[in-house]
């Protein structure tokens, strides 16, 4: 009886009051709230677990035997103590690399594995991060690190295969979880999750249509309309978006789906999150992502509400990752997206998903040496954001923390809940961990309470954003950055097309068409290619075409964010003028001309831009065939004479 259990737990806690401080720690709470699958994950990770054989041999023993076998291939560092006795300081066992591993057959086997993994990733995006890991590993020089990562990718693949195999065994016609799962203090039975019986077989969300021919396979692809906040069923779907025709109550809510993801072991959570980032950066198919999330959580892809839940998950993690990237890269865009990103983090955390822990765990599992791999970039950014938030938090005085958390908690949670939240956060050194704990706790509350906590967590994250550091060493709070210059530029500068062609100063319209002509590739393929690798077009056309997304004024302001709120209007001046792109296209590329190093700010009221233009006009009139160096030298002369007017 679930109710009795809850009641019993409450009584028990009251009766052991002296133990409360110990029970209040994050680890204890996590252990108490651990779900069945989390327990299973821990069991699997236990090195001393029995392998189930008649002659019990635990993993420690197996590993010890392996060590013994390879004992002559180890590195050990000894230090001699004062007594003359040697003391082992550090040791590393060199894994035995079998010659067979380097054999032709083995190499073929390896490439076959990559091929299989590629095929799997094509069908199921949750395999993408593993494929990326495997590719990264393959690119490494032979050695321990490479072997470790290859092994890890194999283990992860096997684990995922098992997980999906289990999901496939479930009855497809119902698509419901076969077992009861425990998430935090809530017990969800399949009946709770799938209480609504879908009778309308002719619409896209039933299982029949989900397996329809390819053209009809897009799930939940029905016309949508905004139901507004007054919708009575709002608690069932937090996005406020429903279906125009044949509306059906969701069988699974976004919150429940998030909780199911949160119930997965951390490294599986990381894979789901990583696939979500890729899917919502348009690198992967959304439908495949939804199917994968449906399978891995055991919900089934065709359940009503699944598509919305997966969309919400993918968008939230994508926004959180993008914001983390912008913060880490000092991109001023972070100032604009902070609020939305805060909400996304809040949603994920209140869904019980420990985003920061998942990122850290994933990075830890692939080993520090592979941190530089592209596939870990999003997690590195999230992890870095977490660290920066903690640093910021630790730099605040206790009074500041209390004042901030009290204000935000009172505004969002109300006086009763505020006390507990403020207490936990203000005293915490690890604000990220505390927010994750708070989110996990809030995930057990009702819909309205969760919304409040989501807002609260989002606002705390916004307040903990690190400061922007400009090239000149100035520190700016993102919040304080005036958008005036940027807004003005946005309003007045027509968004340039990102396609540039040699011989023309300005970006060219229909650039993708021109790029397709030059490369002989389909236009869509070119568009996708430059999104993945902006320099690819340059290489393919031997510099004839260049893809650059940034407008040069934005490039300048990114390099000098302190001038975003500069009180005087100023022009961004090209030290080497853009004219050379048209008149001497062989001398400089668009990338060089619009590079931050070629840009200076000249306040409008100095009236310096006009005389500089006169100097260049005279120069070009008198020098009809200048060399690259001639132009650079003249630009330096112009700088020397006018730099006092440039923004410092």
């Amino acid at each position: 009886m679930p109710d009795d259990k809850v009641k019993d737990t409450g009584d028990h806690l009251t009766s052991v009051e002296p133990l409360r401080p110990a029970l209040d720690t994050a680890d204890t709470q996590q252990a108490r709230n651990a779900s069945a699958s989390e327990l299973e994950a821990v069991r699997k990770a236990n090195p001393d677990a029995s392998d189930g054989s008649a002659t019990p041999r635990n993993r420690t023993a197996i590993y010890a035997a392996a060590l013994m076998a390879a004992q002559d291939k180890s590195i050990e560092l000894f230090d001699r103590e004062a007594s003359g006795q040697e003391k082992l300081v550090a040791a590393r066992v060199m894994p035995e690399v079998s010659r067979a591993l380097l054999g032709k057959e083995n190499l073929e086997q390896q490439s076959k594995t990559v091929e299989e993994l590629t095929k799997q990733a094509k069908e199921n995006p949750v395999y993408e991060p593993i494929l990326a890991l495997r590719k990264h590993a393959d690119g490494l020089d032979p050695g321990q690190q490479k072997d470790m990562l290859i092994q890890l990718s194999k283990v992860q693949t096997d684990e995922l295969k098992d997980l999906f195999r289990q999901a496939e065994k479930k009855p497809v016609d119902q698509g419901q979880p076969s077992k009861e799962i425990t998430i935090a203090r809530h017990n969800y039975s399949p009946n709770d999750v799938l209480a609504y019986n879908n009778q309308q077989k002719d619409i896209a969300t039933d299982t029949t249509n989900a397996r329809a021919p390819k053209s009809n396979q897009e799930l939940d692809n029905r016309p949508m309309y905004n139901l507004g906040l007054e919708q009575k069923e709002a608690s069932l779907f937090s996005t406020g978006v429903g279906y125009l025709e044949g509306y059906k109550k969701p069988e699974i809510t976004t919150q429940v789906l998030f909780e199911r993801v949160a119930a997965l072991p951390l490294h599986h959570q990381a894979l789901v999150l990583s696939a979500g980032i890729q899917a919502y950066r348009q690198e992967l198919d959304h439908q495949q992502y939804r199917i994968a999330v449906g399978q891995i959580t055991g919900v089934g892809e065709s359940v009503v509400g699944m598509a919305q839940g997966a969309d919400s998950l993918g968008k939230s993690i994508c926004e959180a990752a993008q914001f983390s990237k912008d913060i880490v890269e000092n991109n001023p865009r972070a100032g604009d997206t902070a609020e939305a990103a805060g909400q996304s983090f809040g949603k994920l955390l209140v869904g019980g998903i420990r985003v920061f822990d998942a990122a850290d765990h994933y990075l830890g599992s692939v080993g520090a040496a592979s941190y530089e791999g592209d596939h870990t970039k999003a997690f590195r950014d999230i992890s870095e954001l977490g660290q920066q938030m903690n640093q910021k938090w630790q730099s605040m005085s206790p009074e500041e923390k209390t004042r901030l958390t009290t204000r935000l908690a009172m505004d969002n949670l109300g006086p009763i809940a505020a006390a507990g939240a403020v207490n936990k956060l203000a005293k915490s050194m690890d604000v990220v961990g505390a927010l994750q704990d708070l989110g996990k706790t809030a995930s057990t509350f009702g819909g309205r309470e969760r919304d409040k906590y989501q807002r609260f967590i989002g606002e705390i994250i916004e307040q903990c954003e690190p400061e922007a550091v400009t090239n000149t060493g100035h520190r700016l709070k993102w919040r304080d950055v005036s958008k005036t210059a940027e807004q003005a530029a946005d309003e007045n500068i027509s968004r340039m097309s990102p396609w540039f062609e040699k011989g023309k100063k300005m970006a060219i319209e229909s650039g993708s068409k021109r790029a397709a002509e030059l490369t002989g590739l389909p236009e869509e393929q070119i568009k996708k290619l430059v999104k993945e690798d902006p320099r690819a077009l340059e290489r393919m056309t031997n510099g004839q075409m260049i893809y650059m997304e940034k407008v040069y004024r934005e490039t300048y302001l990114t390099a000098h964010p302190e001038y975003r709120n500069y009180p005087k209007p100023f022009e961004v001046h090209h030290r080497i003028p853009q004219d050379v792109l048209e008149r001497h296209p062989q001398l400089f590329s668009h990338r060089e001309i619009h590079d931050a190093s070629n840009l200076v700010g000249i306040p409008y009221d100095t009236k310096t831009h006009a005389p500089i233009k006169d100097l260049w006009r005279d120069y070009f009139r008198d020098n009809n065939m200048p060399s690259r160096q001639d132009i650079i030298d003249f630009a330096n002369k112009v700088d020397e004479a006018n730099k006092r007017h440039y923004l410092p």
Binding site: K504, K505, E571, R583, H609, A610, R617, M625
Partner: protein
């Protein structure tokens, strides 16, 4: 007759739609002029770097009326540069007058308008009579220098 070097206000540059068969030729010969404004055109005669000249229709009328030689007029395509909005903010309520493409096929030192290609010399050479007409208009941002006709002999 006395002649002068005349360098009009440089208000912009030639846009990508400008047609020029050879940018290294001096004087530059344009087949089409797209004038890209980079600053507010204060004067009645302005230049787009390099050697793309534009003048107001009122100035063109005055030149015709005065019977000046060595100049023809054509239509041009005038566009705003990507930071021109800064100038528009400073000139709110003002409008840019209509400009024509001023071409100078005349012979320097002989016609009222002409072009030369001599290092260190402004390329537009105008007669005293022309300067008198120009001075009736806004030419505050131009540069004017005496012109030594012997340079033409040296060039030839």
């Amino acid at each position: 007759m006395k002649f002068f070097q005349f360098s009009p206000q440089c208000a912009g540059t030639t846009g990508d739609e400008t047609i020029c068969p050879d940018w290294s030729a001096r004087p530059v010969i344009l087949h089409k002029l797209q004038f890209e404004l980079e600053s507010w055109p204060e004067d009645d005669l302005i230049e787009a770097t390099i050697q793309g000249y534009a003048g107001t229709t009122t100035l063109a009328d005055a030149i015709n009326l005065a019977g000046l030689t060595g100049v023809t007029f054509d239509r041009l395509d005038m566009i705003k540069g990507d930071q021109f909005w800064l100038w528009e903010n400073e000139h709110q309520g003002e409008t840019i007058p209509e400009y024509l493409w001023f071409k100078f096929p005349g012979i320097a030192g002989k016609d009222d308008f002409g072009q030369v290609a001599i290092k260190g010399i402004f390329d537009l050479i105008v007669s005293e009579k022309t300067l008198a007409v120009l001075k009736q208009f806004k030419i505050e941002n131009c540069r004017i220098k005496d012109f030594d006709p012997s340079l033409l002999v040296a060039q030839s």
